[in-house]
Every structure is written in structure tokens, then in C-alpha cells.
Amino acid sequence: MTVKKAFAFAGRKVLKFFLLIAAVEVITFALMEASPIDPVTAYVGASTSIGAEQRELIAEKWGLNKPPFERFGSWFRNILHGDWGDSMIYRRPVMQVIGQKFASSLLLMAAAWILSGLLGFFLGVIAGMRENSLADRLISAWCHVLISTPSFWLGIFLIIVFSVRLHLLPAGLSVPIGVLQEDVSFADRLTHLILPVLTLTLSGIAGICLHTREKTIGILQSDYVLYAMARGESRKSILHNHVYRNVLLPAVTLQFLSFSELFGGAVFVEQVFSYPGLGYTTVQAGLRGDMPLLMGITVISAVFVFAGNLTADLLYLLIDPRIREGGQRG
């Protein structure tokens, strides 16, 4: 790939990114503007001790009495300057809240992402290598049930089994209750992570597994595998030489494209386990009318998804020789 082409690619992506994020910001702002939730009421809560004048003052401090276009303009400009406004429920800058919560979500999401990728991939290869066998039928049926299982119910189910019945693992939060921050041991953190990670992993397996299975079956029916069999290659060497090489790249790409579902799944898992991450914060911000925080999270989630898609594109560009050499794919 020439340098010129690389620049053109980067330029296109950057342009696309800014256009997309700007559109996301416009839509988010418009949706929040349309909502019947009054930010001042959401801020002061149900207390009646705050009079109309004070409400006016709060509205003025936040610039809520200005017309929507002007407010959008200032919000948009502030974001470009790195000021995302203040969260109402945490009383701190939005960026600070998001940064802190995202860090704890990242641990959960990364663990589940890697585990579901590995498990899904190998189960998919096993099922695809022996189409219609008992193993294949079981794995496929399990995947189809998993697709239809809401992740929060899966979490509830695991809590019932492992926390309530077997008393093995804690049912929620990321640290034990009543223990000081500095006294929390690594083992404590780990045991609190197991169930959320397991839930998120299970809800992510089905997609990658069924995809890998289809691909594997397709490869086994190809002419080059037929030829390999005719040459007398064993199943094992076919698996190593043909199946892995061809299935791995699309599987990894798909895993990067699933950032959106991963983020969505984390919202439910964190809610069920009261895990203090970005997903839990999203629900709190939505339920308590914390518009600046909710809008900030939306933009960050769009950046997160874009990063996944971009990585998938780059992977193809770097690894797939057909694209690297500049030819057309397919």
C-alpha cells in the first residue's frame, strides 16, 4: 500500500469520524430537548423548599433560559475545548465521572470480550468441523438459546444458583460492603468480578460461535480442502493449515465489530450486579435526569464503537494480503 493511499484512507476515516460524532451530538441533544424531563426539577428533586426564584437562578446558571440552538452551540463548543459540563448527580465534571467509571467497566468488558472470543471461536470450530454431529447439535442449540436469553436474566439466574443457593460468590457490587477502600484485597475484587464477567461472556459467545461454525463448514466444502483430503492430509492438518488460517481473521474482526453489543450488554450486567461502572452510571443518569452525563456517555459510547470498527478495518488492511496488495476483496 502506498503512502498516498494510506493518507487518503486516514483522511476519509477522520472525516467520517467527525461527521458521525457531530451527528450523534445533534441527535442526542435533540432527543434530550424533546424529553419532558425538566433538568431543574431533576436537579432539585421533589423538595418543595426551593422557590421559583431559586429555580430561575439555577436555570440561569446553567444557561437553560437561552434558546435551544444557542445552548447546543455552547455545549458543542465546550466539548471541543474538553469541557463536557458537570454531572448533576455526582456534582463533578462529566469527563471525570466517565473516566473513573469507564476504567472499572473496562476491566469487566475486556475480560468478557477475550473470554467470549476464545470460547466462541473454539466451540464454533468444534461444531463446524463435525457438522450435524451430537456436539454440533448441542452447541448450535445452546447458541440459539443464548441469543434469545436477555443478559440481565442470565445474571439473575447465575445469582440464584451461585449466590443464593450455593453461597459461593457475592451477588453484587465490585467490593465487599463495609470494608475500607485500601483494605480490599485482590481476591475480593476477583470474586466480585467472576459472576458479572461470566454473564457478559455467555451473552457474547453465541454470535461469534455461530459465525465461526458457518465459516468452518464453508471452508470444509471448498475445493482446496477437497484437494487436501485427496492428498491424504489428516483432519488435524486440515484444521491447522486451512481452517484456522481462514477463520481466525473474520472471527477477530467480528469480535471488534461487537463493541456495540459489548457496551450494551455491560449496561444490563452492571445494573443486575450493581457493579459501579459506566453501564450502571448510564442507567442512573437516565433515571435521575442527569442530562449532561447521559449526553457525555452517549458520545463516549459512539467513540468506543467507532474505535472497534476502525480496528476491524485496519486489521483487514494489515493482515489480509488481498487488500494489502491493493486488489479488490472477494
Partner: protein
């Protein structure tokens, strides 16, 4: 011809049992009618249950599943089976409305984009990218908040996020047909656009739409239950599955597993059934797979 051979072999395998061999088509029709029957049963049962039958019975508080209350009772003695059935029929309604709405959107965009071409086409593709650029959950929450929650919010949210994949499918299909030999020939013969649309385009697109609608349905009911569970969807007084499950969270640690277990399991079963129905429908509507054994 090969199917005849198969038939003979199958009869040989099971001598004495003159069971007609079921091919994909027969199997699919059997599945579809069975599932439709069950779904209709749930909907009729749900709509027939008068709201008075979900009554508070303080003598039967928090009963585990028994013959009298198959799914147990909740903390004010309401029968969970009745609540679940009510919830399921509500879910199915929401699912039907959401999938129809997203199919209509997909059909409109998917047919208009390649027909108008140029900028309109690029715009539709960009809209699809834009919708997919934010996680569905977040977008549904935002739309639901914008609509002030409730039934309207959830339908708008789910419909607005689920039109994308079908739009892509229909757009690709229309593009393929529009550039195909027989449509070009038809055009050369001076057939009108309407004729081409009715005789060449729709016969290909309508089956895709039917399958697409059915396959969107499970996603729709799962998203509805999920968003309601978070507290953004249907209001707490509705007998929705999401409401039941979010209430059950409070009673989990006291060991009342049946409050969450059965309603969730029923929701999963409905969703599995509908996606199986969709896949069978896909097989028999596609000529390449319809007659495969």
C-alpha cells in the same frame, strides 16, 4: 430424483413403519403451525384473563411453585402464572408492533435508496451507519426518555434501532435485481416501472420482508423486556415481563427464585420459538433450501 432415493433408503431403515418422510418443507410447515398455535394460545389466554384475576391474596404470600400455583406467588399473593401470561401477551403485542414498524421503515428506505440512487442512496447508507454507531441499548434509552417513557417510547426506541439490517438486505436485493439481465430486458421491451416493480422486484423482496419481520420480533421483545427492566420502558403498573423481573430482584436474596426464573424462561421460550419459526420460514421461502432433506 435424489429425494426418491432417499425415500427408499429411509423406508428400508425403518421397516414396518410406514411413516411419510418429512422433508424441509413439511418440517417447516409443521413447526410454523405448531409455534403459531402456541403464540396465538398465549395471546388469547393473556387477553382473556380479566385484570381482576390478578388479585392480592395475603394468605398466599410468597408461595413456592405448587400444583395450585404452578409458578408460585409473589409477596402479595398474586399468582405468578397469571401475571406471566399477561406479561407475555403484552410482550407479543409490543413485538408485533415494533417489527411491523421497523419492516415498514426498512422497506421504504431499502426500496427508495437504490431507486433514487446517488445522494439519496448515500444518505440512507449513512443513516444506517449512524444508527449503528451508538449501542442499541443507549439509543433506546435516549429515545424512550425523549418520548417520556411508556409504551410509545419503547415502540419508538425499538423500531428506530431495528430497521438497519433489513434495510441493508432489501437495498442489496433491489440493487441486484435492478441491474439483472431480465430487468434490463424487460426495460428494453418498454415495460413500465410499475410493471417491473410489481412483477420483478416485489416477488423477490416480499419474502425477504416477511422473514425479516419475523426475525426482528425476538430482538424486539427481548429489548422491550430489557429496557423495561432498567426502568425506562413500560410503567411499573403494567403486567410486563420486564416489570416482573425488575421487582423480583428485591426478593432474590431471600431465596424466592421462582419470581424471576419462570417469567424469564417463558420469555426465552417465546423468543426461541419465533426465531426458529423465522429460520424455517427462511428455508422454505428460499428455493435453494426448500427441498433439501
Amino acid at each position: 430424483m435424489s429425494s426418491e432415493l432417499k425415500t427408499e433408503k429411509d423406508f428400508k431403515k425403518a421397516p414396518g413403519r410406514l411413516r411419510p418422510v418429512r422433508g424441509t418443507r413439511e418440517q417447516a410447515i409443521l413447526h410454523i403451525s405448531l409455534f403459531l398455535l402456541i403464540l396465538a394460545g398465549i395471546m388469547i389466554a393473556g387477553s382473556r384473563i380479566p385484570s381482576g384475576s390478578i388479585y392480592v391474596d395475603l394468605e398466599q404470600i410468597s408461595q413456592p411453585p405448587s400444583l395450585k400455583h404452578l409458578f408460585g406467588t409473589d409477596w402479595v399473593g398474586r399468582d405468578m402464572l397469571t401475571r406471566t401470561m399477561k406479561g407475555l401477551s403484552l410482550s407479543i403485542w409490543v413485538g408485533i408492533i415494533c417489527s411491523l414498524a421497523s419492516t415498514l421503515t426498512a422497506a421504504l428506505f431499502g426500496i427508495l435508496a437504490p431507486t433514487l440512487g446517488g445522494r439519496a442512496d448515500a444518505l440512507v447508507s449513512w443513516l444506517v451507519d449512524l444508527t449503528l454507531s451508538v449501542p442499541h441499548t443507549i439509543l433506546i434509552i435516549l429515545i424512550s426518555i425523549a418520548c417520556g417513557g411508556g409504551f410509545r417510547g419503547i415502540v419508538a426506541g425499538v423500531a428506530a434501532t431495528h430497521w438497519t439490517s433489513l434495510t441493508r438486505v432489501i437495498r442489496a436485493e433491489v440493487l441486484r435485481i435492478n441491474t439483472s439481465e431480465y430487468v434490463r430486458a424487460s426495460r428494453q421491451f418498454g415495460k413500465s416501472r410499475r410493471y417491473i416493480a410489481r412483477n420483478h422486484l416485489l416477488p423477490h423482496v416480499i419474502p425477504q420482508m416477511v422473514v425479516g419481520t419475523v426475525l426482528v420480533f425476538p430482538h424486539a421483545i427481548l429489548h422491550e423486556a430489557s429496557i423495561t427492566f432498567l426502568g425506562f420502558g413500560l410503567p411499573p403498573h403494567e403486567p410486563a415481563i420486564g416489570v416482573i423481573l425488575s421487582e423480583s430482584m428485591k426478593y432474590l436474596t431471600s431465596g424466592q427464585w421462582w419470581l424471576a426464573f419462570f417469567p424469564g424462561l417463558c420469555l426465552i421460550m417465546v423468543s426461541v420459538m419465533v426465531s426458529a419459526l423465522g429460520r424455517s420460514l427462511e428455508r422454505i421461502l428460499n428455493p435453494a433450501t426448500a427441498y433439501k432433506k
